[in-house]
Amino acid sequence: MEQVLQYFFEYKEAIFIIALSVFLGIEVISNVPAVLHTPLMSGANAISGVIIIGGIILVGHANLSSLSLELVLGILALIFGTLNVVGGFAVTDRMLEMFKKKKSRQL
């Protein structure tokens, strides 16, 4: 218990960020029209690819002197993370492209 409290104190800024981000996430999403549910889910999904920063740090400081399981898994994490980021944003853009095409033709 003491350690948990200590951890809370040590990471109080991060915990503040969490608490505020929850409200921010709820606030930003409410009132979204049903039309945009799928693109929004897809775009949010791409943002969760932010884990890739962890992957970069992990592989960035990995020991390259021998080919270890850790290194292989780390590289795999990076590839997965990039798939999430690049694929996610690309697919969202493709969905939204269709709405835009519609608009420009009518204006």
Binding site: G25, T38, I51
Partner: protein
């Protein structure tokens, strides 16, 4: 670049460190702004690009400026390995995203969600040995990141398989208890790892077992959930991936990761709740109870089915004033969105008013139907949401139901025993005439009988939606 600027709390900081933190702040702001813009039709595309820009910025600055606790930057050899891995992931991600058919969009979103979960689980797995026994807080976030990321990965893969038709529903009554037991064991092992006095290096077996258990739980968790509930599940798993990424952010004390992850977690949870509301079900009900299957209370609704010939349908449509098309997933499966648009144009040229009634969960994901129809050049203004079109339904001459079933089932109003009782539906039964295009007399995704088929005003047009509508178009042209 690395000149020491000063000392704060005993830690030196440099221009590089400052720039890195600053770039994370900008990235976080871009995520928030991007998500906000994404929730308005006019600005959605820009929002997506902004969020992508934030991600790109954070990736580049991390690669160039990150230093570990010993103050060492990323060495050149590691730098190239990272670039190569990112190159591989980016190439595959881009090509698949560009080439996939619009109807396959939901499973692709599910697949990319799985990769994000896998990345989070792997990062947590690899960072675990660096933790120190007794640092309960940091082991807690590592274990949580591992469990949640792994469940998001295997769960999303099963959801992907189900949407792609590769995995069927498996539902046995005992599975609820089995899953509950599995969850308890998984969380129990996690708790043991968090509070164990042993060093992480002595608990490697435990962390790999935890990974395996979490992966199995993810599979078992999604397996019994019916296809109709997949959107809710994907949204929920999307929230999980965000939370897992935020847990990893805790490991690195990285604010951009924490904010981005939690933002997605919160947004995903809200979206999940919104979808549950659209189907009039609670989240617990979606996860624990199964849709259809065992419940057979809604049987018995029987009557005679009346078919309509193509030429009769063509005459009926041509001489109507107001027509409402109610599309469902069947339309997407048959790739009938383009030919539907052609029918729409043809009828409009004859002075018939054509609108589309979009149920919030039409298709395999909320808004999926809008994307499909937008692809087929159906103007945005013609897509009317359920709540706006229902009061108008009694004035509609013909309601054409294309590949939809549960979303027009009147049992939602009048059969308390039906599993969909209480779910909001499009009031097709109030229209003056109803034409239902269907492959055969099969049941809808929820596996329940639809009394609309036996309605006196209903005529059935059996066959593949695409070829039926094609024939209808030809018939009207020849009139």
């Amino acid at each position: 670049m690395n000149k020491v600027l000063g000392i704060v709390n005993g830690m030196e900081f440099t221009i590089g460190d400052t720039l890195l933190e600053l770039s994370y702040l900008i990235a976080a702001l871009l995520f928030v702004t991007g998500l906000k813009l994404l929730s308005h039709p006019r600005t959605a595309r820009r929002g997506n690009l902004w969020a992508a820009g934030g991600m790109g910025l954070a990736m580049i600055t991390t690669l160039l400026l990150h230093k570990n606790t010993e103050g060492e930057g990323i060495s050149l050899a590691n730098f190239w390995i990272i670039l190569a891995a990112i190159g591989v992931g980016a190439a595959i991600g881009w090509i698949v995203a560009r080439r996939v058919k619009m109807t396959a969009m939901p499973q692709l979103v599910s697949f990319y969600n799985a990769t994000g979960g896998a990345a989070s689980a792997l990062v947590a797995l690899l960072e675990y040995p660096n933790a120190v026994a007794g640092e309960t807080g940091s082991i807690l976030v590592t274990v949580l990141g591992l469990i949640i990321g792994a469940i998001a990965f295997s769960g999303s893969m099963i959801a992907y398989g189900k949407l792609d038709g590769k995995v069927g529903d498996i539902m046995k009554p005992f599975m609820t208890y089995l899953n509950l037991g599995l969850l308890i064991i998984t969380l129990g092992l996690g708790t043991f790892i968090i509070f164990s006095p042993l060093q992480p290096s002595e608990l490697i077996w435990a962390i790999y077992t935890l990974l395996a258990l979490s992966l199995i739980y993810g599979v078992m968790f999604v397996m019994p959930i019916g296809g109709a509930d997949m959107p809710v599940v994907i949204s929920l798993l999307n929230a999980f991936t965000g939370i897992a990424a935020a847990m990893a952010g805790f490991i690195y004390n990285n604010q951009a990761m924490i904010l981005g992850g939690i933002l997605v977690g919160a947004a995903g949870m809200i979206l999940t709740v919104l979808m549950c509301k659209a189907m009039n079900r609670s989240l617990i009900n979606v996860i624990v109870g199964s849709f259809g299957g065992g419940v057979s209370a809604a049987a018995g609704a029987q009557g005679t089915i009346k078919e309509i010939t193509l030429s009769d349908a063509a005459v009926l449509l041509s001489y109507s004033q107001r027509i409402v098309v109610i599309p469902g997933y069947g339309l997407a499966v048959a790739q009938a969105q383009h030919i539907t648009q052609e029918l729409d144009e043809l009828l409009e040229s004859k002075g018939v008013e054509v609108k589309y009634a979009i149920h919030p969960v039409a298709g395999r994901m909320p808004g999926h139907m809008n994307v499909l129809l937008a692809e087929a050049d159906v103007p945005y203004e013609k897509l009317v949401e359920m709540d706006d079109i229902n009061p108008d339904m009694p004035n509609v001459d013909v309601a054409i139901v294309v590949g939809a079933n549960d979303v027009v089932n009147p049992a939602a109003y009048d059969d308390p025993g039906s599993p969909i009782y209480g779910m909001p539906i499009i009031d097709a039964h109030l229209a003056k005439n109803i034409i239902i295009m269907k492959r055969g007399m099969g049941k809808g995704y929820a596996g329940i009988e639809n009394t609309l088929f036996f309605n006196d005003k209903t005529r059935m047009l059996f066959g593949d939606a695409k070829s039926s509508i094609q024939k209808l178009v030809n018939e009207i042209k020849n009139m």
